[in-house]
Subunit: 506 residues, 2 copies
């Protein structure tokens, strides 16, 4: 192993976690002596167990069948056996049991087959909601308001008391943008309802009814893959190439240097340049009649490579949005539901006033968004579709929220996240030629690998040794464990990292 | 009752149902003597039973709570009690039991709480799929290919053997359009992969990577509410006003006059004018570099007012698409799954070659689309998102398809549809000042009411007498029963119509 084998004892500075920024935390790298922890998932497996390389023969056989049906399987890694998967362990069709730190693109909140969810599905009182999917905008199920209260309003971001469910993340973003457009046009009509000309011209996709308004997004962002959301996504060409897009403004996203405490001034200057550019773009687009109705941003640009910015940057964005009357839309599809060590990652920013709209999906099991009263859309069928979400997912989310609250999983994520990040920093200290820029909030952590080819090699080797991790950006490993991922799971992962690096003679 | 009380015995001409067009069917209006029919839904209620007007006090109370949470409830008619709903009967929160001929915006295939679906959810072998929602593009469940085969490939439209699932109708349409764009760009690169310039420019939403290509849609169309799908929707201003849209071509949709056999020449001329306009638009947009990549159309424009066109029109569209290398996308979100008396409504057109892409959702319980091999997208992560559908819906769809096949529900829809349309024609013959343009395919029927205000009055009175029907367009009643809706249900509906008209002194 070519990396430095040093035992590190350092002052670690946690970053952009609200008040914890620049608070020194003393810890010891590779400390294996943990205080005994309550196991958060009952009867979980103890460790990975591998029978074949991945994908194994059974997965390969299934892949052939699947390919014949969909012709779109190049991204399929293996088939899952979801009967045998449990907690943080994903079992595949060949009986390989992997510690899952990617969790279905960050969408498994409390582990596979959590007993609370099993119980919810088996509860005869819930059966009718699974059998009959209502049109929630027309004939919602009678317990829907109460369940929404329990599942979504009980965990609403501070200052945002209204919620609209949707089927998925992209639909949530699309509808959030629609709220922004409608809100902006209403301002421009001095609060009045659409005119006859508006109503007539919109049917032909013409102005003023279909205004040439825009949504500002950021370089490296990802917000989904339908035409509106995709026009705001700029993380990877393969998502976008050949597909028509709106000509909407795109601002640079900060490129922070690590460690943050060393590059404080440089990073601040970088963020100020980005903020300047945001103002310029808004001013320019507004002056051309292409008014910026909304600004959409992720708390951490996930698909784009786990790019962070400081709370200063987000606070200033809130100010700019206020100044130019632009809807401040925070896309928490990947960061939401406690992964950041707060229930909502934007809570780490300590904003003077809340975002205007907050989108969610993935771990929340349902798509949707919270919004301020100012963004209420008046009139029937303006924000509407057949299903408007799925109440069977709300039943499950209700249980997820209960489990999070009863087990203080937000605190678990914070503690495990501290540990995880610290271990990642240890890894990069050991192998500075291989790893850099360890970063994270809660367990929403990442580390850069020296190049894309090495990244893929590491991830594949990790998987074949029983740890399923994900990639993002061009050379980043992203960690997206469940909320019941604990220090002992992290230890297994880092032991596997050690083995892989040993094998690679690093 | 002011309408003519005549007993009608007429030659009826069924229209645009493939070969049945202009085939005379002799029948007698208001014939109550039916040959005994097997009841298709076990233990169904016998008839509606109303306790309050709708919404009743309990629905109103719930509406207050719901409004406080979502602030978007103006379209909510009442809350459902889905435990007590059964077959074609929807029970509301106040215990009112209504014959449901609207079925959650046309999305209930085989009735409420069908035993086959109850069994599927209670089957312990299916439990893990309801508890754990996989990222189907990365780690699908091991039984997913087989279930896709049973649920979707077994009912694939002739000539379309590939399928991609999606979460909802709008996502399906958005991704179908993406296939069209990618296919068109590939043609324009002579089959080559995207260039470095394509990959670079698309990240900035700029041409050539984000091409200024377009999708042609029709006046009165509805394809969904995300930005791409909404740019192709032109049925109602309230769906679109204030929201940014693509400047894409919009062609006129035929405006048929009824009865079809009387206006054959005039209708043909009208369709020819529309076809001319399609060609002009494609030529014009192509010449300006804004190439038309796809043409999207509903077999029957549902939200737009149940507007039909003849199979001649659709056959010509297929030819035009071939001629100009435009993807022919058929949106069967509302017409699909047997409602038209064929499993797919476009089967009625007897096309010389199949459509290129066929979208579905609603009664299919999952979104998705079928596509020809020519439209396969090569490369990972181009057509992709976190969930790519929901395998728990595929389990349910598998049962739905089994029930449809075992009970020959397509034939039931055809027979019941014949009866339903005949009765509607009887209604308009009795009350020509009130009703006109009875039309339909299968049970996908509609009739126009003299004006919008009267329409709303009739629909409300029908509901309060226990029959829940829907509206579309500006003055149309649309009938969207389940596939287990039978003649005896239709009789109840028409008895209620009679009562309502009596009350209205029509």
């Amino acid at each position: 192993m070519a990396c430095k084998r040093v035992k590190i004892s350092v002052d670690l500075f946690r970053f952009h976690r609200g008040k914890q920024i620049a608070t020194p935390v003393r810890c010891v790298s590779h400390a294996r002596k943990l205080s005994p922890q309550t196991r958060l998932f009952p009867d979980e497996y103890d460790k990975p167990s591998m029978k074949t390389t991945v994908p194994g023969p059974r997965s390969k056989e299934l892949l052939g069948k699947f390919e014949n049906i969909t012709k779109n399987v190049e991204h399929v890694l293996f088939f899952g056996n979801y009967k045998k998967s449990k907690g943080n362990y994903l079992v595949d069709a060949d009986g390989n049991r992997m510690l899952d730190v990617f969790t279905q693109v960050a969408s498994v909140p409390i582990g596979y087959n959590h007993p609370a969810l099993v119980e919810a599905i088996q509860d005869p009182g819930n059966l009718s909601v699974f059998v009959n999917r209502p049109a929630l905008g027309v004939h919602p199920n009678e317990d829907f308001p109460e369940r929404l209260q329990n599942a979504l309003i009980s965990v609403a971001p501070p200052g945002l008391e209204r919620v609209q469910t949707m089927a998925c993340g992209a639909c949530s973003v699309e509808n959030a943008m629609k709220h922004a457009f409608i809100w902006k046009r209403k301002q421009d009509r001095n609060g009045l309802q659409p005119t006859a000309e508006d109503l007539d011209s919109c049917l032909r996709n013409e102005s003023p009814g279909s205004p040439p308004y825009t949504i500002l997004s950021f370089v490296g962002a990802f917000h989904g893959r339908s035409c509106g959301a995709l026009s705001c996504s700029h993380s990877k060409a393969v998502h976008k190439v050949d597909i028509a897009a709106f000509d909407w403004p795109i601002a640079p996203f900060p490129q922070l240097k690590y460690p943050l405490e060393r590059y404080e001034q440089e990073n601040r200057a970088n963020e100020l340049r980005c903020l300047d550019e945001v103002v310029k773009l808004i001013t320019d687009y507004n002056s051309r009649g292409r008014k910026v109705a909304g600004l959409i941003i992720e708390p951490i640009q996930a698909e784009g490579g786990d790019n962070h910015a400081t709370k200063f940057f987000f606070q200033k964005l809130r100010e700019i949005c206020d100044q130019f009357k632009v809807a401040f839309i925070v896309d928490e599809v990947q960061t939401g539901c406690a992964a950041s060590g707060k229930f909502w990652a934007h809570e780490l920013w300590e904003l003077p006033s809340p975002p205007d709209i907050v989108c969610f999906s993935k771990k929340m099991l349902t798509g949707g968004y919270y919004f301020k009263d100012e963004f209420i859309v008046q009139g029937a069928h303006r924000i509407f579709n057949t299903w408007m979400g799925d109440p069977s997912k709300i039943i499950l989310l209700e249980k997820v929220v209960e489990v999070i609250q009863n087990n203080d999983l937000v605190q678990n994520v914070k503690e495990t996240g501290d540990y995880l990040l610290h271990k990642l920093e240890g890894l990069q200290d050991k192998c500075p030629s291989m790893f850099s820029n360890a970063r994270g909030a809660g367990t929403f952590c990442a580390i850069d690998v020296r190049d894309g080819a090495t990244l893929l090699e590491i991830v594949e080797k990790m998987r074949n040794k029983g740890v399923n991790v994900g990639c993002c950006g061009v050379r980043t490993i992203r960690f997206r464990p469940t909320l019941v991922f604990q220090k002992h799971h992290a230890d297994i992962m880092f032991e596997t990292f050690d083995e892989v690096l040993e094998e690679m003679k690093m």
